[in-house]
Amino acid sequence: MINGLAALVLLCAFVAVSSSRMPALVRTFAIQSLALGMLAASVAYFTGSPQIYVVAGLTIALKAILIPRMLAYIMKRIKVEKEVDPFLNIPSSLLVSGGLAVLAYYITEPLIVHGGELTRNALALSLAVVFIGFFIMISRRKAITQVVGLLIMENGLFMAAISVTYGMPLIVELGIFFDVLVAVIILGVFAFRINNTFDSLDTSFLRRLKD
């Protein structure tokens, strides 16, 4: 069950890479967060720890509902074109992501022996999600896709935290949620301002400052 959900999270990362339209990308992120929340809930069920239930609830509320809504709102307000506009076309992007997933397994192999029975594969899966999130950030042109990439990276981390250690201390988890939320809000505000200043959300505008 847990491994299945973890695999679903990784699958969503692949779907995100293959999304060619922005709303689809955001929706994929929402589904990934939902899977992550359910993963947390099942870990909570197996370990009987109430604080992981809280984390699961917060994951679903924030990352599966609130943040995707905010992103959709931003996209609607600034009337961004729907295409994702990748630097690298989608088939080769998928190929790179596959390579990254293999790399993640390779890196974590020496570590996996220490993990519990429950979570043996989860660390490799989470690292793969982190890598793919990072890849989305650097290979897509729009500012909003960078934000989604960052969020997918955070999802990967969350999966690592929940599966490897059955969750960090609650106060830390809450703080991380808070940081993620604030980061999205700030980036949203910047996205508005960038749009006003440049009339597009293309991050190629990030080329003025140089030596």
Partner: protein, 490 residues
């Protein structure tokens, strides 16, 4: 009682916000900000005094040992200096109608929220909370970086927040792995991520996990420190932020991020000896110095020049900690304070020039000694200090690090280090000297923009001189105590 240090900047920020929204009074905002920063500095001094005399203070998730006390001292002092300089600098821009009163109030509000996050970094015992605080510093300062709302400042802020957030995500993964190895030893408890707990069980932590965790943390927080090759956000953010913020980013924020690495460095040293984490710090330190030297030579914009100097000096600090030993660590710790003061002095000087001549391009500025004599003298002092010439503090700390390298038989590191310092010295001299001497290209009226700014700079210059001649007793004791925390002495 440590909460007090966290409450002061929050109250200050709230007061600035209220003065802004309710009273619409510029002076009231400035007084609230300056007095708040002053009270914070005094409170930190009292705490530091207590730590030096009676040892570390532990209060649940918060704690203060000699290392955090020393960092707090740097933060609080530089924040106070920066807050006073802000009054002159931002006040002048406000008078020139560069922005309205509301924005001025916002500036001070965000400034003190930023201070809050930095204080939280220094007093967190829980490494998870420390991570949250370091991410918080990025979020709080992003608005300050984008303050002018120009296309370039938006670009700088966007890069800053994206690059640092990605970096710091890796640091979180490192923190999670440390937690995982700690849970294996002490079981699941809220103290399993406390630095003091981790240190006491460091010997039994899983070595493989700890190694990977340290690499992730070094790359993650290293992004925030500005270690090359993760430094790309730094020159943009430093050059686009308002000058007092540039000084704080460079002098204080980078140190706070370095502090995050140090906590893990100490754990790794306890668990596996200084070899592993030390040599990584050494490597990144040398790379940073090399990269910075190249960009320092070709710099045209003075704030970018100073930003690359930050990368250079963070490299020096990383080398000092990487070498370890009493001289390496002592030198690196002292260098943190010295660099903060010298860099602020130069940023403030550059700020005075920017206010008057409206340019950051060094070629366009000539003959400062003729029309801004005080700024010119202070810039000259700052330049000598930053380049590491006697009798200023940076000479002592750089010499101490060099001594550590030589006595430990790290001849190659010592040679590269010395060579780069020798290359950078004339480059800086040429850049800043070109601004100070010569004839002004056009008729510029004499005079400074703000008396207050000059006095702030005089304080910094005097401080650098004092640190170069004699390190005051209590400060030496504090740094000595912090040095002994690093253990693993060869």
């Amino acid at each position: 009682m440590i909460e007090l240090l966290l409450i002061i900047p929050v109250i200050t920020a709230a007061l600035c916000f209220l003065m802004n929204r309710v009273m619409h009074n510029r002076r009231a905002i400035e007084i609230a900000s300056t007095v708040g920063a002053g009270i914070l500095f005094i409170a930190v001094l009292l705490f530091v005094y207590k730590v030096v005399g009676e040892g570390a203070i532990y209060e649940g998730a918060l704690f203060m040992d000699s290392l955090s006390a020393y960092m707090l001292l740097i933060v609080a002092f530089m924040v106070f200096i920066g807050a006073v300089y802000s009054v002159g600098y931002m006040g002048h821009e406000y008078e020139e109608k560069a922005f309205g009163l509301g924005r001025l109030g916002d500036y001070y509000t965000f400034l003190h929220i930023f201070v809050f996050t930095m204080i939280l970094v220094c007093v967190s015992n829980n490494l998870g909370i420390m991570w949250i605080a370091i991410e918080g510093t990025t979020l709080a300062s992003a608005f300050l970086v984008s303050f002018y709302n120009r296309d370039t400042s938006l670009e700088a802020a966007w890069k800053y927040i994206i690059i640092c957030s990605v970096g710091i995500t890796l640091a979180l993964l490192g923190t999670i792995l440390v937690y995982a190895s700690s849970v294996n030893v002490v079981g699941e408890s809220s103290s399993a991520l406390d630095w003091t707990t981790l240190r006491s069980i460091a010997g039994s932590l899983d070595k493989d996990l700890l190694r990977i965790a340290f690499i992730l943390v070094l790359v993650g927080y290293g992004t925030k420190v500005g270690l090359a090759p993760m430094h790309t956000w730094l020159p943009d953010a430093h050059s686009q932020a308002p000058t007092p913020v540039s000084a704080l980013l460079s002098g204080v924020l980078l140190n706070c991020a370095m502090y995050g690495i140090l906590r893990f460095h100490i754990l790794s040293t306890e668990a596996m000896g200084p070899g592993f984490s030390g040599s990584l710090l050494l490597l990144f330190g040398v790379i940073s110095m090399v990269v910075a030297a190249a960009f320092i030579i070709i710099a045209r914009d003075i704030k970018r020049l100073l930003a690359y100097h930050s990368i250079e000096h963070m490299g020096i600090i990383a080398i000092g900690f990487g070498l370890g030993g009493p001289f390496g660590v002592f030198g690196a710790l002292l260098h943190m304070l010295n660099h903060a003061m010298a860099k602020s002095l130069l940023f403030f000087g550059a700020g005075n020039v920017l206010l008057k001549l409206k340019t950051k391009i060094m070629e366009d500025v000539k003959g400062l000694s003729q029309h801004m004599a005080a700024t010119a003298v202070l810039l000259f002092i700052g330049m000598l200090a930053l380049a590491g010439s006697p009798p200023f503090g940076l000479f002592i700390s750089e010499l101490s690090i060099l001594y550590a390298a030589v006595t430990q038989g790290q001849t190659l590191v010592a040679a590269i280090y010395l060579l780069l310092l020798i290359i950078i010295f004339p480059a800086l001299l040429w850049h800043i000297g070109g601004m100070i001497f010569g004839k002004p290209s056009e008729e510029v009226p004499r005079g400074e923009v703000s008396r207050l700014n000059i006095w702030v700079m005089v304080v910094l210059a005097a401080g650098l001189l004092v640190l170069g001649l004699v390190i005051p007793g209590p400060l030496a004791t504090l740094i000595g105590q912090a040095t002994s925390l690093f253990g693993g002495l060869p």
